[in-house]
Symmetry: C2
Subunit: 475 residues, 2 copies
């Protein structure tokens, strides 16, 4: 860009737009924004911008475009794949949406909420609850992750089996396009067939096509009945069989259906104070079933007993406990939620966020576990996650007697080994975490040909200068 | 296109590809494909192509691209807006997907079906039912409309309130791109965050970005309990209030929630043999509520009685009947389903497929009715449709003493009058029927600026020669 604005001039313009507090350049101030929380990447940036309004975001985009400086949008910076970390060349700014944190509208008749990109997911959940509604997206980072981030990455989480991913919870978007135009697509409509579904293009694009500044989200009626079960099951097939039984009995009651390995549960009990096994005997496979209904008289306990009775008769379920009260339900969920922390405490582990058709989850777990043990004997598979939607976190813990760093040095071999099985089962190498920087080099192999070609055409059409979050998603 | 293949050479190549039976050129044979069923448009075409495989579709696209001849994809040809009708210049072929009518796969464990574009919607519904599953998309034209068509137009229908539009029922697509490449995106995954959501771009694009040749669809558990209610209600606000009561009581049980005006019901009773009013007294406003559950012991009748009891106490519901058996449920549904036919028999009518936020449905009905009566005194408003998703067919029947043709000559004035109200209520001028040819000239006003600009960039990026269904969607 020969006639681009020099960076000093750009920063001066940005400071005059956002004020000194809106443009962080001090290295200590901007350090947290330059690396991801997993410390996979360490980037550089001219500044961290903190616009407070959509118009300010648009003006930042126009100024940076004129200067040929790239923009890395950042929400809660909780990406698992380095999606919000700048590259190392220092030719970019981080644009934080943190100050755009207003809930603009919440309508319990329409069952919609319009929230700015910087609203923290937990805040959105709480605001919905205060109006007697439910915003069902729920995931580990919900206390930090933002609405802009969960939409830009199409986050999933525990309740996808019932409510869908972030995409399905979105009715409309407001987006600042790469040329600085503001697209106000904040519609509250369930039906609107008026041209191409632009809003779906920005969801999951990880900020590479524009900056999501606000979204209109779907709300749901709050459940009045809830029950949580924890069961030991015979094997992976039995876990799937029990899922099918619940789906057949009451499809809409399943709010979450999670699988855990015996090893993973053992780690949680061993490392996390207060986590205990609520069953008399250990097993190799467990499931957690969360049932919910808006109907107060739904008798979820009766439903659970009926399904579990039949499943026990067939030998699928070995033992089971029904929460029965709030404290016990929370205790059951904790076993599952502490899996990542327990794995961290046990040693080095390699994470694989993969998905397969639901029918192939048992085969995925068995084959990927065996293949990884064959690759590095002593490796301890700790698969867990969302059986109900086919998304298993096919994690591998280091062998007891191996050096953690030596195990992590084999990360790519392990991921390749898992992905070979996933590919054979018509699965995906990134289920809910996205591509970011971590997986861009896999796009050619998995999505190459007509699909990647079309994605690149779209990127070039909307962001011809390639200034929106460069180095992410597309190889 | 100076060096384009002459049409005769193209037809010879197409015949050698598809055989004589695959290339219709006789004017009597192709006539039905050249106009829409509402007879809004009469187009011309060189031929009607009937490929039998994805590879044949791709080869047709490559040959036509080389010849500079446009392609109009056609499924059941049931578009309400001329979306599948060729333009008048004769520089195109119609490509019928009718021979691509195989269900390639149906998996009751994954709850997915992979169907070719030419499979009739009713056939897909039946195939799902035979495997104990439900494919919930349901609309008037389901005996003729095809999977490719309902996806390309993002069809809605009666069950959107519970299951979503066609878009939400789609997991993967196979598409022949404008350059003849085949994109196989037939994934059976609930989570797959690997780049831009191409599949969502083709849904609702009405064949202007490529030709959908097959789709992987979501199936659901079949309801074991069902109940249908018909109620007279005090006014439009009461209709909305009853919807809110049901949503609060059991959100997932509402399979359809339909509004009908007193005039519309009167027309159905008057013109359709066998249709009767199941209540003792006439009213100005009615609702139909369809409740369903996979749970056999769901006690929908109890749910209905509880909600109706409270609504009657508040004066919202005047009178109500609960179907109680299959025949009576079907009879109630017929009152609603015969609305279009009854309106046709009563005289000339102007159709408006519009949507607003659910909370604004009462205001839409009242204001649009009053505005149309003010425009043409004696006009009889017959609004009906999907209150639960905000999509009302805001139809207007001619005054009794007016000439039908004279009334229809005012169609555009009437549509403008309705749309002015819709716009004021943050609604959409096309809820579930799409844009086609009928509404392209409204795109600039409603979607102009950043949004239409982005759509045009995407169109140019994927179909630079503009040969895919020209004259549709984009102005």
């Amino acid at each position: 860009m020969p006639d681009a604005l020099p960076p000093d001039r750009l920063l001066a313009d940005l400071i005059s737009l956002l004020g000194p507090a809106g443009v962080l350049t001090d290295s200590a101030d901007i350090a947290p924004a330059l690396s991801d929380w997993r410390s996979l990447y360490q980037g550089k940036a001219l500044a961290v911008l903190r616009p407070a309004s959509t118009e300010q975001v648009a003006e930042c985009v126009r100024l940076c475009a004129a200067a040929g400086i790239a923009i890395v949008p950042q929400g809660g910076n909780t990406s698992m794949v380095g999606g919000a970390t700048p590259t190392e060349d220092g030719r970019s700014v981080v644009l934080s949406l943190a100050r755009m944190n207003r809930i603009r509208d919440l309508d319990p008749v329409d069952m919609t909420m319009t929230a700015e990109a910087g609203v923290v997911l937990k805040t959105a959940q709480d605001a919905a609850a205060e109006c007697g509604c439910l915003f069902p997206l729920s995931l580990g980072a919900e206390g930090t992750a933002t609405i802009g981030g969960v939409l830009s990455t199409n986050a999933g989480g525990n309740t996808t089996v019932r409510y869908g991913n972030a995409r399905e919870l979105m009715l409309g978007l407001e987006v600042v396009l790469p040329d600085g135009q503001v697209w106000n697509g904040l519609r509250r409509l369930r039906k609107d067939n008026t041209g191409y579904a632009l809003r779906h293009l920005f969801v999951g694009a990880e900020g590479t096509l524009g900056i999501v500044t606000a979204a209109t989200l779907r709300l749901f009626a709050r459940p009045r009945a809830n029950e949580v079960l924890f069961c030991s099951v015979r094997d992976e097939d039995a876990a799937l069989a029990v899922f099918r039984r619940f789906r057949e009995a009451d499809e809409t009651a399943i709010r979450a259906f999670e699988y855990m390995s015996g090893t993973g549960v053992e780690f949680a009990v061993k490392h996390i104070p207060g986590v205990t096994l609520p069953l008399a005997e250990r097993a190799d496979h467990y499931i957690l079933v969360d049932l919910a209904s808006t109907r107060a008289d739904a008798d979820l306990q009766g439903l659970a007993e009926q399904v579990l009775g039949a499943a026990m008769e067939e030998g699928e379920v070995l033992d089971a406990v029904i929460g029965g009260n709030e404290a016990k339900r929370a205790a059951i969920w904790r076993i599952r939620e502490e899996h990542p922390e327990a794995q961290r405490k046990e040693g080095a582990s390699v994470k694989n966020d993969v998905s397969v058709p639901v029918s192939k989850v048992p085969e995925l777990i068995r084959r990927a576990s065996a293949a990884c043990i064959a690759l590095i004997p002593g490796t301890r598979p700790v698969p867990f996650g969302h059986l109900g939607d086919g998304n298993i976190h096919m994690n591998l813990e280091q062998p007891v007697d191996m050096d953690g760093a030596a195990f992590l040095a084999r990360s790519h071999d392990i991921m390749d080994t898992v992905n070979e099985v996933v590919r054979d089962l018509d699965g995906s190498f990134s289920a809910e975490h996205g591509i970011g920087r971590l997986k861009t080099d896999m796009m050619e192999v998995w999505r190459g040909g007509a699909e990647l070609d079309a994605m690149k055409r779209i990127k070039a059409a909307l962001d011809p200068s390639g200034l929106m979050n460069p180095g992410k998603v597309l190889p």
